[in-house]
């Protein structure tokens, strides 16, 4: 790990705690964390999206955004992107729409998902993947987020999963040209959790030097993995909740992908982690 990245990780923990303290980031004249993350997208010209499923104002029952979600158990057919990039997520199939639970979405593990077709992440060297939610049941390796030309296509893709068999870990995978860079972090995914993953797309030497992970606001030790290179990301379909075959059963609150041409600064990264944490608590 480079000195810069070590310093970045060392800085994030105390800053995260300060930003998530009561009264910080939510009022008193300070912009909300959501507003601050939106500003990071603008400041860095980040590609990607930002979904706050806890914000009912961003949810619609239909794909066009004409019928708002109003009540608990209303289905969600569209989540508006808050990044400014216009990458709204939709689901047209009635059986695959998750349901509003009053503080996020319930995914049924039987196909519930939203997708954004033709999500352009090209030309970027860094990608940050953000999730807050909980796997509730299921024996499967369930897909939380998945970016690929198709589930059968592996080159230049990445995913975040919650593993089956045991429910107690997250799996971070980026699929390179020759092999799969993969790390499992033994942090409970069967309780409400937040996680931020940072992939350095340009290094491609070994997983710990490519990947940094924070779970519940704390930096994690990434285990050694196969030598690989993720390869360039392109314009591909992005899925949340399922990749058409591996379905997530649980609660989803926040999702974001920021693809950039340089690493975020320490304060920007801290804000991103705090935004994910705000979704967990």
């Amino acid at each position: 790990m480079s000195l810069t990245r070590s310093i970045t990780r060392a800085l994030t923990q105390p800053l995260t705690r300060r930003l998530t303290a009561p009264g910080i980031g939510g009022g008193g004249g300070s912009p909300s964390l959501t507003t601050q993350v939106t500003a990071i997208f603008a400041a860095t010209s980040a590609k990607g999206y930002m979904l706050n499923v806890q914000d009912i104002a961003t949810l619609s029952q239909d794909t066009a955004g004409a019928t708002p979600v109003v009540n608990v158990s209303d289905v969600i057919g569209r989540i508006a992107d808050l990044s400014g990039n216009g990458n709204h997520f939709t689901q047209a199939t009635a059986a695959n729409k998750p349901a509003w639970n009053g503080n996020g979405a319930d995914f049924d593990g039987a196909g519930d998902a939203l997708t954004r077709a033709a999500l352009d992440l090209s030309g970027c060297s860094h990608v940050y993947v953000v999730f807050a939610g909980q796997k509730t049941t299921g024996n499967n390796n369930s897909v939380i987020m998945y970016h690929s030309a198709s589930p059968a296509t592996i080159d230049g893709a990445f995913s975040l999963s919650a593993n089956g068999g045991s429910l107690v870990n997250f799996q971070y995978a980026a699929r390179g040209i020759t092999s799969n860079a993969q790390a499992r972090i033994s942090q409970a995914s069967d309780v409400m959790a937040s996680t931020v993953a940072y992939w350095n797309l340009t290094v491609g030497v070994d997983t710990p030097t490519q990947l940094d992970v924070w779970v519940n606001g704390s930096a994690q030790t990434v285990p050694a993995g196969a030598n690989t290179g993720i390869g360039a990301l392109t314009t591909q379909t992005h899925y949340i909740g399922s990749n058409d075959s591996l379905h997530f059963s649980g609660k989803g609150r926040r999702y974001a992908v920021l693809a950039t041409t340089s690493a975020l600064t320490a304060p920007q990264l801290t804000t991103l982690i705090a935004w994910a944490e705000e979704g967990r608590i």
Partner: protein, 197 residues
């Protein structure tokens, strides 16, 4: 309150077309449920509260449904198993002593149907090593290793009812798509198979 529903795979295309024609979107029945042949025999769905959609599902001929409260995964799994099928996505991890007639998920996420009980400790090689003990299930749209069909019942079809496309496989490090219906021949360049880039 939510609804789980299941139909035989022979009715899948018609059921999904009927629901789509009513404005409920494509491919509502999308969860494959497997039988002993290693092929999908049923298709299932779960939906949250949507009165018009639920009424439309219940009206489909041949559909079996269950409406109620509780964990969607447990309820959908129970409904699938009541039809004598198994939900591949929720299959038990491949480990320990396997039970005949049960589906297992190998570490690479491939699905296998146990023919005879055996210990994975004693028989510790890849499951494809033991064709008399366990059979690989064929998942729609996945480029999985070609398996010599035993007859028309497990041949490669021109119309996969889940994807609406010809069935595909992987053979000799290449991906293939059948060009004819009920294809039982080994993939090769020619009139029967098309190589997929």
């Amino acid at each position: 309150m939510s609804l789980c529903a299941i139909i035989p795979v022979a009715s899948l295309i018609g059921a999904n077309a009927a629901l789509e024609s009513l404005g409920h979107g494509p491919r509502n029945f999308s969860v494959p449920a497997f039988g002993a042949s290693g092929l999908a025999t049923h298709a299932a769905l779960h939906t949250w509260t949507q009165p018009a959609f639920i009424a439309a599902v219940k009206a489909i001929p041949g559909v079996v449904w269950q409406e109620g409260e509780g964990d969607p995964v447990a309820r959908t799994k129970s409904l699938i198993e009541a039809q004598g099928a198994q939900w591949g996505d929720q299959a038990t991890a491949y480990a320990g002593t396997l039970t005949a007639g049960k589906m297992y998920r190998y570490s690479d996420d491939s699905l296998w149907w146990c023919i005879q009980p055996y210990s994975t400790v004693t028989f510790s090689a890849h499951p494809s090593t033991y064709p008399a003990l366990i059979k690989r299930a064929r998942r729609s749209g996945a480029y999985e290793p070609w398996v010599q069909p035993l007859g028309a019942q497990d041949s490669y079809r021109l119309l996969d009812p889940f994807t609406g496309l010809p069935e595909v496989c992987r053979h000799l490090n290449k991906n293939w798509r059948t060009k004819v219906d009920n294809n039982v021949w080994e993939p090769a360049v020619g009139p029967l198979w098309a190589e997929v880039a």
